[in-house]
């Protein structure tokens, strides 16, 4: 954010903006399916291959090549539709979306237009507010199938990495990977909660897609991408404002921030008497603001028409019901179950969900950690360290590493204090917990003889305190325990020190 530009005096902040304007949302999520082969050909979908090693006449759009749709991709899309409470269309077709841009070698993207495979669903979400949990229903307009585009590398020109000639280099490995687009209807009535509702929707959707096993749903790697539409209208006006569309928002946090950024930007434009331009904008990760994309000279004009090379998809009820029977536990039901199994208080459960820590905590517990310890490490120390670094806690440390640390605590090999140092070491990149422990010599001093030496030294330094304990003043032991802990650099087990000390002083 450019701090050099002074804000006008009447500049609205978020709270002021939503006190005057009602935000309306629309969310479009693109998800790459995790099929082994592409949507319309048998090329591999493997990520990270050498350029143009995963192409064929079909995905290169060579003359005469005929596409055949991937049955698994259709089933995955129907599953997504069913999980989102959609109706599955008895008849659905592919369409050509025509545009001339080299990221698609065919000069069109095979998509669906007026006959999508799933329509009219909804997703119920819950957010935590200062007045307790609030539920919202996000209605789904459609779920349709399409294909991903190739990757362009721009050389030269304003956006290129090398100056000089202006050209683009195309790798079509990604062209034709199955993509599903999930579009909401207009989401209104959220008021000031619009950013949290947007985030909760994308988060719940991600959980559902993950539970269905149809996609990797890695937002950071682009296998799940979100376009956020925001418009504002004056409170109680009953009108709809002009929307902006922020493209490719690639984390849950960014979804929330993009909505906040747009509400603030649009409200201040409206306050200044300016109009909102319907446009595509890009999200700026650093500032949380958006910037306009280059405006297209033409309004979108894709001249869709039915794809003559592919036959219609007409799932019968037998096929649909067979798929419905395989639907896994809904993430919301799973959360209720885990909450009961781990006996988590409401507030803590909400924190775990909002922080996106449910999966890692579950994994940590499955690896042998006590539920209460797994929860408190992820929500406490690890989240604190993540906040300091402004990153997602799950990117700092793995459930396996956390489970290893907790198992060492459970076995008495680490105190909480030592464990914190181990976790910090792991996060700092010093290696696995066992390696950090070895490098830094972070072992609990449980050797009685070593502890007794420290205890005797502490008694010698504070003879009066020792006398009081001998006389029955047990709380006074705290001072001596503290001294021993200090002398052992925090590596002693405090409970053990207390036990030895009291015994030594005849208590």
């Amino acid at each position: 954010m450019s701090q050099m530009v002074p804000m006008p005096l009447n500049y609205l902040n978020y709270d002021e903006a939503v006190a005057k304007y009602e935000p309306t949302l629309g969310l479009e999520v693109h998800v790459e399916l995790n099929t082994k082969s592409k949507m319309f050909c048998s090329c591999s979908t493997e990520f990270g291959g050498e350029p143009n090693t995963q192409t064929c006449p079909v995905c290169l759009g060579l003359p005469g090549a005929l596409p055949v749709v991937n049955g698994k991709a259709i089933e995955s899309t129907i599953l997504i539709g069913l999980a989102l409470n959609c109706s599955i269309a008895p008849f659905s077709r592919f369409a050509r979306k025509n545009y001339f841009y080299p990221d698609m070698p065919k000069n069109f993207q095979t998509s669906q237009y007026d006959e999508p495979i799933c329509v009219n669903g909804y997703l119920d979400i819950e957010i935590a507010t200062e007045e307790g949990p609030k539920q919202f229903r996000v209605e789904i307009e459609r779920v349709h199938m399409e294909e991903d585009t190739g990757k362009s590398l721009h050389v030269g020109g304003a956006t290129g990495r090398i100056h000089g000639a202006e050209y683009s280099l195309l790798d079509y490995n990604r062209a034709g990977i199955p993509l599903v687009e999930i579009v909401t209807k207009i989401v209104g009535g959220t008021g000031k909660y619009a950013p949290q509702v947007a985030r909760a929707y994308v988060s719940e959707l991600r959980d559902i897609l993950r539970s269905l096993g149809v996609s990797d749903v890695k937002m950071e790697q682009g296998s799940m991408r979100c376009d956020v539409n925001v418009s504002l209208s004056p409170l109680d006006s009953g009108t709809l404002g002009t929307r902006s569309e922020t493209k490719n928002v690639n984390s849950l946090r960014s979804v929330e921030r993009a909505v906040i950024g747009e509400v603030i930007r649009q409200s201040n434009r409206l306050e200044a008497g300016e109009r909102i331009v319907q446009e595509t904008r890009h999200f700026l990760e650093e500032s949380g603001q958006t910037r306009p994309g280059r405006s297209k000279e033409q309004a979108e004009d894709y001249r869709y028409f039915p794809e003559p090379d592919l036959v219609p998809v007409a799932p019968d009820s037998g096929w649909i019901e067979a798929l419905r029977a395989t639907l896994p536990e809904r993430p919301s039901a799973r959360r209720a179950r885990l909450k009961a199994e781990w006996s988590v208080p409401d507030k803590e459960m909400t924190s775990l969900i909002n922080a996106g820590l449910l999966d890692v905590v579950q994994e940590t517990i499955e690896l042998g950690a006590e539920p209460i310890r797994a929860r408190s490490w992820w929500l406490g120390e690890i989240s604190r360290l993540a906040n300091e670094r402004d990153v997602d806690p799950t990117t700092l440390i793995t459930p396996t590493q956390v489970a290893e640390v907790i198992s060492l605590i459970q076995n008495g090999d680490l105190t909480d204090n030592l464990a914190r140092q181990v976790v910090e070491g792991v996060i700092a990149g010093a290696g696995r917990p066992s390696e950090v422990i070895a490098q830094r010599g972070l072992k609990v001093v449980s050797d009685d003889a070593a502890l007794m030496l420290a205890i005797e030294a502490a008694i010698a330094a504070q003879p009066e305190t020792a006398e009081r304990i001998r006389g029955g003043n047990i709380p006074a032991a705290g001072a001596l325990i503290g001294a021993v802990m200090k002398a052992t650099g925090g590596q002693a087990d405090a409970a053990k020190v207390r036990e030895l000390l009291l015994k030594h002083l005849g208590q």
Partner: protein, 98 residues
């Protein structure tokens, strides 16, 4: 009345990134209008009982198993490309988009 105007053709040419001179635009507008006229006559004949057809044979649900088969080599893939570099297709940069 012409179903397609010269401006329509100019618009399509722009979308297709094909440069056309005035006489080409005139010529194509006339030709496309004839084609559309012919198609429109077919449409008049089709009754309400004839659904719009996108495929000549009434088949549905033709799907492929999700199996990977060998792709072309990059050399094969690029063999028809007018220009290439670093195993990639090399194309003129299109401005106005990202």
């Amino acid at each position: 009345m012409a179903a397609i105007s010269r401006d329509d053709v100019a618009h399509l040419a722009k979308l297709a990134r094909i440069s056309m001179n005035d006489s080409e635009l005139d010529h194509l507008a006339e030709e496309m209008d004839l084609i559309l006229g012919a198609v429109a006559r077919v449409q008049e004949v089709a009754g309400r009982d004839v659904p719009p057809t996108s495929h000549p044979i009434p088949v549905k649900n033709v799907v492929r198993e999700d199996l990977v088969r060998p792709s072309l080599t990059p050399q094969e893939a690029l063999s028809g490309a007018p220009a290439q570099s670093e195993d990639r297709f090399k194309v003129p940069q299109i401005l106005g988009e990202e």
